[in-house]
Amino acid sequence: MQLSDKLKKQSIGWLLISSLIIILLLIPNINILLNLFTDTSENWQHIKKYLLMDYIKNSLILIISTGLLTALIGTLLAWLIAAYEFPGRAFLSWALLLPLAIPPYIGAYTYAGLFSYTGPFQVLLRKRFGLVVNQQYFDFMTMRGAIFIYTIFLFPYVYLLAKSFLAKQSASLVEISCLLGKSATSIFFKVILPVSRGIIVAGASLVMLEVLNDYGVVKYFGIPTFSTAIFKTWFGMGDLTSAVRLAAIAMGVIFILLYLEKLLRGGRQYSYSTSQIRPLKRKKLTGGSKYFATMFSFSIFGLGFIIPVGQLLYWSYLSDGSKWGNLLEYSTGSILTGLLAATLVIIAAIIVANTVRINSGILSNLFARITMLGYSIPGAVIAVGILVFLLQVDQFISWLMQPFAIEINMFLTTSLVMLFFAYLIRFLGIGFNAVNSGYQKIGTKFFEASRTLGKSVTATFFKVDLPMIKPAVLSGFLLVFIEVMKELPLTLILRPFNFNTLATRAFEYAADEMIYRAADLSLILIFCCTIAILLVNQLRKGREDASEN
C-alpha cells in the first residue's frame, strides 16, 4: 500500500491540521535542543561548576522520594477502597481525589504557616501546654517538608489509576488467591502489587513529572531545583543561554526517567482481555481492621484537604475581607483563561485523536506520543523554548513589515498568544488521552457503518463520533481546565505585563508573606477545581455504569 493510496482512503484535511499542531508542538522543544550546540556564557561555567550538581541532586531526591511515597499511599488507599467495605468508604472513594484541587504551592504555604512559630499549632502548644518546641523539628520549609507536600497533594494520581484498575481487573486473581488460602496481606503484596505494577508506575511517573514541573513549592521553600534555577538564571541574571542549557539538561533527565518508566512497566498492558472484566466484590471489614481502614483513609483526606482548607478559611476570616473588586477581577480572569485554554486544547486534541484513529500506522503512533511530550517537560523548560521561538517569529514579523513602514514590535511575545500557545503545548497530552480513551471505547465500527452509509470522514465525525465521545471530551475539557487553573510556572514566565490569575496572585501574596490575602484567592481557586473534579468523577461514573449494561 503506497502512501498516496492510504491518503485516498483517509481524509487529508485532518492529517494536515494535525501535522501542523504536532509541528507547532515540536518547534519550541527542538529549539532548546539546538541551543545545546551554541556557545556558552561565562556564567554557565560558574553554574556548571558550583550549582548544577545541586540542582540535579535536589530534583532527583524530590522526584524519587515523592514517587515512592505516592506509589505506596496511592496503591494502599486504592486497594482499601476497591476491595473492602468499611465506614465512610463511599464518601472517601471520591473525597480522596480532592487533594488534587489544591495546588501544591498553596498547600506548601498553608502548612508552613500552620506550623510556623506564630502559627496556630505552636501557639496552641505554647499557650495551652507551655511547650516551646525545637524549631528544627517544626520547620516545614525543608526538603522533607517539600516531599510531604508533594506526596499529600499528588498521591491521587496513583490512587485514581490504581483504583479503577483494581476494581475492574483484579476480581478473578483475588478470588483464586483467596481460594488458595492466602491472607489479605499476602494477597496485597504477592498478587495486587505485582499485577498492578504497570499502572502504579504510570501513576507515579505522572506524579514525578508534576514534581519536576513544580516551581511554587521549591521556590517558597528555597530549594534549588531545575525549575527555580531556570527562573533565576533567566530573570535574576538575564542569562537566557544558560537557562536554555539548564532546560536541555532537564529534558535529558526526563528522557531517562521516561525510559526507566518503560522498563519498569515491563511492556505490560494495562488491561487483560476485555471479555473477562468482572467488578471486584468488596469484602466487609470487621473489628479493628474496620476502624483502621477508616482512620487511615480519613487522616490522609484530612491532611490533603480538610486541614489546608480549614487553615485557609481561618486566615480568610482573620483577613477582614479582601477587596471584592480585586477578587472578582482575578477570579473571572482566571476562569475565563481556564475555559478558553481548555477549549483550545480540547479542539486540538480532538483533531489529533481523530486523525490518529483513522490513520493507523507509524505516523499515528508518533503523533500520539508527541502529544505527551509537553506534559513530560517542566513548564519552565517549555516557557524557555516558546519564548526563544516566538522572539524569532516576532523579529521575522518586524522584518517583514519594515518595507511598509509599519512598526510591529514584539507583537506575539507581549500578548496572551504566547501564554495560550504554551498551555496548548503543555496540556495537549491530557486532552488527547481523554479523547482517545473515548474513541477506544467506541471502536471503529460506528465510523465504518457511517462511511458505508454515504458520510465522509468529516460528516461522520460530527454526526457519529462527536456525539458518542461527548462524555470523554467533557472530562478532557475539565481536566485541562483544572490544570490551567492551577498552573504556575508557565503563567508566571509567559503572561503579559499586568496579567494575573488566581494562581499567580496567590503565589505572589504568599511569597510576600501576605498570607491572609492569598487565602481568599486560594479558596476560590480550590473551590473551582473541586467542582471540576467532582464533575469529572460524575462523568466517569456515568460512563462506567453505561459500559456495564
Binding site: K445, E448, A449, T452, G454
Partner: protein
C-alpha cells in the same frame, strides 16, 4: 460486481490474506462466502466496501471501477450497503434517525415516508422512536438491514447476519431476510459459518480457504 486479481495484507510485513482473488457476481444474485475462520471472508467484504485498500487488483461495481492501481473511490461514494456483524446501530440515535441516517439531503416528508416504508418492509412499525438498547437482538438486526437498504445501495454485504441470534430466531429471520432480498432484487454477498444458512440463502456458494 466483479473482482480481478485482488491481493491484500493488513500490515506491511504481515501475512498475505488474499492472493489474486477472483470473483464475479451477477445482477440480483445472492452468493455466500463459506470457509474456515480467519480465511479472509470479512476482509473481502471490507475491500468491496472500501474500508480497506488492496495491495493490487481491481474491483468493479455496477460497471464502475471502484478501485484499481489509479482509482480509489472512498466508501461513502460506493453505494455499497453493509450490515455489520454486531449491527453497529448508532446508540445516540433512535430507530427512525438510524434508518434515515444515510438518506442525504432530502425533505423531511420524503424522509419520514422512506422510514415508514422501511419499517413496513421489516415489519417493525411503531418502533420508530425506540433507541437501539431498547430492542432485542433480532429487532436490532432488522433495523440495521433497514438502515443499510434505505439509501438504495447497488450491492448488499452481510457479514455473518445470523451469528448473534439464537437458534429459535434463526429460522424465521433467515426466511424474512431472503424474502426482503428477493423483494427488492438487490445483489447480495453474505458470509456465513453455517452450511445450512448458506444453502438456504444463496444461489451460489463460494469457498474461501486460508
Amino acid at each position: 460486481m466483479k473482482i480481478n486479481n485482488l491481493s491484500f495484507k493488513y500490515e506491511k510485513n504481515g501475512d498475505q490474506i488474499l492472493n489474486n482473488f477472483q470473483l464475479e457476481v451477477n445482477k440480483q444474485e445472492t452468493i455466500c462466502f463459506v470457509g474456515p475462520s480467519g480465511s479472509g471472508k470479512s476482509t473481502v467484504l471490507r475491500l468491496i466496501a472500501g474500508l480497506e485498500v488492496p495491495l493490487s487488483g481491481e474491483i468493479f461495481i455496477a460497471g464502475r471501477t471502484v478501485v484499481n492501481d489509479q482509482v480509489f473511490i472512498p466508501p461513502e461514494k460506493r453505494k455499497v450497503g453493509m450490515v455489520f456483524q454486531d449491527y453497529a446501530l448508532f446508540p445516540h440515535l433512535n430507530v427512525a434517525e438510524n434508518i434515515s441516517f444515510g438518506l442525504g439531503k432530502i425533505s423531511k416528508i420524503d424522509k419520514s415516508r422512506k422510514v415508514n416504508e422501511m419499517l413496513d418492509l421489516i415489519n417493525l412499525n411503531g418502533f420508530a422512536n425506540r433507541y437501539p438498547h431498547q430492542l432485542s437482538g433480532g429487532q436490532q438486526q432488522r433495523i440495521a438491514l433497514a438502515r443499510t437498504l434505505a439509501p438504495n445501495p447497488r450491492l448488499l454485504l452481510l457479514d455473518e447476519p445470523f451469528s448473534n441470534l439464537d437458534e429459535s430466531l434463526r429460522d424465521e429471520i433467515r426466511k424474512e431476510l431472503k424474502n426482503i432480498i428477493k423483494q427488492i432484487g438487490i445483489t447480495t454477498i453474505l458470509v456465513s459459518h453455517d452450511q445450512a444458512d448458506a444453502d438456504f440463502m444463496a444461489d451460489r456458494k463460494i469457498f474461501i480457504y486460508s
